[in-house]
Subunit: 355 residues, 2 copies
């Protein structure tokens, strides 16, 4: 039901094919974020037109609203949101440690209050597996504790909990049609990252997520961690770098052995009037675009660039029109998918270094 | 360049074809409102997929932002907003009298302050023609004064100004590729409405808009006015009832001789979580939809109803997701276009009375 096939490599860079119950994911792959069972400002047909394969949804948000049991009654997340292609759910750990309030961690799990209504909740390893089995994504993940990446002592303790929780998540999982990824933690510390990878590999997972990066450390620190892990993680299974990144990050991190990515940045900056281009970001709120008849990026083949000027997009952003969010999101995701596809083709054709 | 052909009639009801430089508009036609050069929450391809023919844009809003001269420099409204089909612009009169502040009317025009930034502006008949020629819609309209529909004295004075302004608008118009519609005013008073229609017909316009209705009067008062005008207005030219309405309004007003409609209601209530159906409105914020797996309307063939449940739509609305606005707008406009098309087919096939 799941298979990851390496199709080509170029030094550390890998091109692969990840088969899931809802279809194949060619890697390297960028997954747009559908926090609340929708990639903000786009419809499923927009996403399919863009060539999205796997998308991410947030366990924490969907557990709180509309509720995982409700989604299960309505046929699971794919049917609920009208997305027939693969889905990955995170474990909710990151959101509990970044969004929820009055958080208390203990060896058994974490108690927190909803950021929506202040109601009290508790996540344990077993609980987040039940939630994710109710949601029914193709790939689910283990509960983890996200520590300050540069606090060694904190990471030592958090890692112990994360490893215990991974053991319990693996034991709790029941659905054969879901792959379970372990999440490697350990902050910016190569020894902790190595310890984490080896522990999780000892348990054995269908893939390995790399968590706790892109949260304040330097690019160099992130790259060192990826290089350490590339030497340890099993080559025959997918590696997913959580919460990263920009088009440049894709190139840099694929070059260090990563297969899968997700990030809110392309969709979030779109809703703030920002466009990603190959030569940098544009802020459409800037008055210099008011009379600019050019597309966001010359040569871009996305719907936005083939139909609308920067002047029109600036008008939509300035007038706070929903279409502005939609058109910028379309463009930004088009660039992410195009970048991932170009990287993949470069690896397959033996010219990744040049790319 | 413009031709209105009556194809079939059923008592007062008419099915026609309105030819414009950007294509044909089969009538009866419902025009969605693209206030700020976008029909809120939809892209031009969404609109084309729905079968929209002519859309409306607001002169007042576009004059203030991004500016009609800017739109002219960028190739006109069709190119600016990526809509290659027909467009109609209102004259801005209604918005000046409902949105703008510190308004002062005199015989020559109206001075007001922008609702956006408080800046001072002045509309005269000649000015709104220049603005609309800069925008470049297929159909443009005369500056009119919108009076309280039940205040006879006010309507007498407003009508005198509206008629003078219509004369000046007609004289000011220069572009042969734009049709100019006069706007019949006169509140709920049959004698004033008759006087207004006869005055405007004496000047001669390419079509006749009926303004100042759907602003607080009863349906019966509106219907009486329409019946009076149906007996007066030239049968060979299009009649456009401004700001109306619901699917039921379309049936009732086509039965009284109207060819064209526009209304913000289907798009506005969508953004408030409301769906129009053949049997009434649904408020998706209502908790009773939380577990409802049914589509908004059984048998509806729109994208929303063929892909998503009421439960999902309620979730999107509750979570304030943009996709909720988009999917409800798609459905509501689909119903308006379907209703207009069904009315047209019923007239053409001699079964409008039964419909």
């Amino acid at each position: 039901m799941f298979r990851f096939t390496l199709q080509s490599t170029a030094n550390r860079a890998r091109a692969g094919l990840f088969q899931t119950p809802h279809g194949e994911v060619p890697t390297p792959a960028f997954m747009p974020v559908g926090t609340q069972a929708t990639v903000k400002a786009l419809s499923p047909r927009d996403l399919a037109d863009l060539g999205a394969t796997m998308i991410l949804a947030n366990t924490y948000h969907l557990y709180l609203r509309p509720g995982d049991e409700r989604i299960a009654r309505l046929g699971g997340l794919h049917a609920f949101m009208g997305w027939e292609r693969p889905i990955l759910t995170d474990s909710g750990g990151y959101q509990v440690f970044s969004l929820a309030t009055r958080r208390k961690v203990d060896a058994d799990g974490v108690t927190f209050r909803s950021h929506i209504d202040g109601s009290a909740h508790r996540f344990t390893p077993e609980k987040v597996i039940v939630i994710q089995e109710n949601l029914g994504a193709d790939v689910i993940t283990c509960l983890d504790e996200c520590a300050d990446p540069s606090d060694y002592e904190y990471n030592v303790h958090a890692l112990a909990r994360t490893h215990t929780w991974a053991t319990r998540c693996r034991a709790a999982k029941t659905r054969p049609d879901q792959a379970l990824f372990g999440i490697v933690q350990g902050g910016v510390f190569p020894d902790l990252r190595e310890q984490s990878a080896r522990f999780l590999m000892g348990l054995g997972f269908d893939g390995y997520a790399i968590g706790g990066l892109s949260v304040g450390e330097t690019k160099e620190q992130m790259h060192v961690v990826l290089e350490v892990l590339d030497g340890i993680l099993p080559p025959g299974q997918p590696r997913y770098l959580m919460g990263v990144g920009t088009p440049e990050d894709l190139v840099e991190c694929v070059a260090r052995g990563v297969d899968m990515f997700d990030c809110v940045l392309p969709t979030r900056i779109a809703r703030n009037g920002g466009a990603l281009t190959r030569t940098g970001r544009l802020n459409l709120r800037n008055a210099r675009f008011a009379d600019d008849p050019a597309p966001l990026e010359l040569g871009c083949t996305c719907y936005t660039c083939t139909h609308f000027s920067r002047a029109y997009l600036r008008h939509l952003v300035t007038a706070n029109e929903i279409l502005g969010h939609t058109l910028l999101t379309l463009h930004n995701l088009h660039l992410m998918f195009t970048t991932a596809r170009e990287i993949r083709e470069a690896i397959m054709e033996g010219r990744f270094r040049a790319y």
